[in-house]
Amino acid sequence: MTGAHPMIRPAGAALLAFLFATTAQAAILKVAPGKEAQERLQSALIDAKPGDTVLLGAGTFELTDGLSLDVKDVTVKGAGQDKTILDFHGQMAAGEGLMITSNGVTVRDLTVLDAKGDAVKAKGVDQISFIDMKVDWSGPPKSTNGAYGVYPVSSTNVLIDGVTVRGASDAGIYVGQSKNIIVQNSLAHFNVAGIEIENSMNADVHDNLSTHNAGGILVFDLPNLPQQGGHSHRIYRNKVVDNDTENFAPKGNIVASVPTGTGVMVMANRDIHVFDNTISGNASAAVIVTGYKREIKDAAYEPLPRDVVVRGNHIGRNGWAPNIPGAPEAAALLPKPMPPILWDAATRFTRVGGAPVEEKVNVVLSDGPVLRLNLTDVNNLMSAKPTIVPSVPGTPVAEPKPVVLPPAQARLSKK
């Protein structure tokens, strides 16, 4: 036994030294509001080392330019989402309030106010988390507000938890071209789209409240982008209620095509499961399942929604005044009130310069009745021969597995 001692001790000492080193390395860089907030805060975001926390004091930081963070594993933490305000009303440049280009970043416990463009963007990163934070644009919702509130794009492992966004002229919570995504416990209100998952794979969107937007929750897939073919999302246990803000998006944007008063809208994509949500108070429709209706100039793009399941939702009063932006004559064809579920039922599309493509399309729409538009071609709305059916049974589609984030990030989750 005496021989074991000298062997254990150095190992123990080394372990102790290692633990000490790790704790000693993680520093807290405190920044208070006040004069030259821009330079002091930006300096902290540059000086931070991996593992550090940039701790922002209570009060309003008057910022004159966009901020940016490019150090991995840094937490940017305020004194509370109503206490620390990053105020960008005087922002003179940059396309976003805070731009993040490093892995493992967490932003939490603060408000981003009046960003000139997008509020917080993370591009091309792994493990990005937004926790207990707020994004707001002052005054009533307007088209000159920034496009997105929280905006992770081209990223993997995205956690959006306890986030509130108000006033975005596109989507409040927007996840684009990303993989492995959780959006939960969040509030999106008075945006054009409350929550939007676009050109992404494996998102769990649950236990959120999306209200007083033009559209509550959107799942879109668009052509001519580096990542497309979105699939495998679970949209569940959300409250998607009273989405009644007139669509105020600039009209060239795809969200400008979302009918005011839409609950959930699935465009293109496959393997999308919408269940156990409460959907009510949406004047156009509870759920819209549709193909991409514009010209297709992309040989790889799939415009039809496939393997979409809508089941077990608590559907209240919806669809009493449906509208279709730019196509009142098409809206006039719709029955009033609308059945809760609208499906274009298109099985054919044509790419520019190509022959028509016919596809077998499976959907499971249990929360009927369902209005089938029976389009002959996906982008020919006027070819609609609407029928109302009690449901569309389809072929059962296995639900995607729950999204699992890496352990360090999962620990941030509020559950």
């Binding site: 975001l45 940016s68 003179m92 000139k116 920034g146 496009a147 668009l222 600039p250």
Partner: protein
């Protein structure tokens, strides 16, 4: 010889012998030090305090088609350590060795009609090639124009000049923070120079010794190897003899493609504007906006062929509003001449 005079000569000799000669030449060790120098002077890239006289080891250069930066005049130099050479590449930036430094001073003459007079230096940017990769540093000049100090978190300074038409222009000039440097200078996350591509250097420069092709000059002075006889060439964006589409491609390459390429900061947009790219939709023709938000201004396409006024690209080039304007960094003013060029290019495209 008078004793007093002899004594003063002796004193002078003594002084000259005892005082160490001032250090000469570029301080390559200081450039390679991971801790940036607090002042530009520490690197001895210039022989004067005001940064107007480059060390003899620096080679001035110009780009056929440069990035527009609020009409700033740019003085560019390349430094390659003695005994080393860069290597030619047909596409992308030249392969410059570790130790190389790109030096760029942003300056404004008081009046662009007398461009050599009353020139105010705003900032001098360095891109230093260390073993760990390229490192960006920015030094901002004081009002007295005697010292440039390190600014890592960005800065703003008011600038006023009289433009070439005699109009007074005032605006807030933004010195970028180091992260913003990376936003434009990153390819797949790694920092890289943008300007010194062979095709953008392939043109004459008026050296003090006379005009000479830059690639030939760099080869002759021993800082570049492997240049073929038929190196590609980007046109000068304002060369009236070149077809408008080639000029537009050159302009968009220099002003947009550092982000708008498949490995750049705007890769997610799907709008790609490298000089070599030909595909219509990726170049913006009939391409719908994705994440432009209010910047789309109720317009349907990035480029509506034949219709510049219905093209988002023109709207964003003309805008001076953050969140709308493009490029989103590096300018506060609109580039009238560049906009005129892109308008002419779009107007000449056949309507689809």
């Amino acid at each position: 010889m008078k004793p007093a005079f002899a004594a003063s000569i002796a004193a002078l000799s003594l002084l000259m012998m005892s005082a160490a000669p001032p250090p000469q030449g570029v301080d390559t060790a200081r450039l390679m030090d991971a801790a940036p120098a607090p002042t530009l002077a520490a690197y001895r890239l210039f022989t004067d305090a005001g940064g107007r006289a480059p060390d003899a080891a620096l080679t001035p250069y110009a780009l056929n088609t440069p990035l527009f930066s609020d009409y700033a005049e740019k003085q560019r130099y390349v430094f390659v350590p003695a005994g080393q050479k860069g290597s030619y590449r047909p596409t992308g930036v030249l392969d410059l060795p570790v130790g190389a430094v790109l030096v760029k001073t942003f300056a404004y003459p008081a009046d662009f009609r007398q461009p050599k007079e009353k020139v105010r230096f705003i900032e001098t940017r360095l891109l230093i090639h260390r073993a760990s990769g390229w490192v960006p540093l920015t030094y901002v000049w004081n009002d007295a124009q005697t010292e440039a100090v390190l600014k890592r978190a960005g800065a703003r300074t008011p600038v006023t000049f009289t433009d070439a038409r005699g109009t007074s222009v005032s605006f807030s000039y933004a010195v970028p923070n180091v992260n913003q440097c990376k936003e434009c200078h990153a390819l797949s996350g790694a920092l890289t120079p943008i300007g010194p591509k062979a095709r953008n250097l392939n043109g004459d420069y008026a050296y003090v010794t006379g005009a000479e092709n830059q690639l030939a000059h760099w080869t002759r002075s021993g800082i570049l190897q492997g240049v073929p006889a038929d190196a590609p060439k980007t046109p000068h964006w304002d060369d009236a003899a070149t077809p408008v589409q080639a000029l537009a491609f050159a302009y968009l390459d220099a002003n947009c493609a550092h982000c708008h390429n498949p490995e750049g900061a705007a890769s997610n947009s799907g709008l790609y504007l490298e000089y070599e790219r030909t595909s219509g939709v990726a170049r913006g023709l009939g391409k719908r906006p994705v994440a432009a938000g209010k910047a789309s201004a109720d317009l349907d396409f990035d480029i509506a062929p034949g219709e510049p006024d219905r093209s988002i690209m023109i709207h964003r080039m003309e805008s001076r509003e953050p969140g709308v304007m493009m490029p989103e960094l590096g300018r506060a003013l609109a580039h009238k001449e560049g906009i005129d060029l892109i308008r002419a290019y779009i107007a000449a495209l056949p309507k689809s």
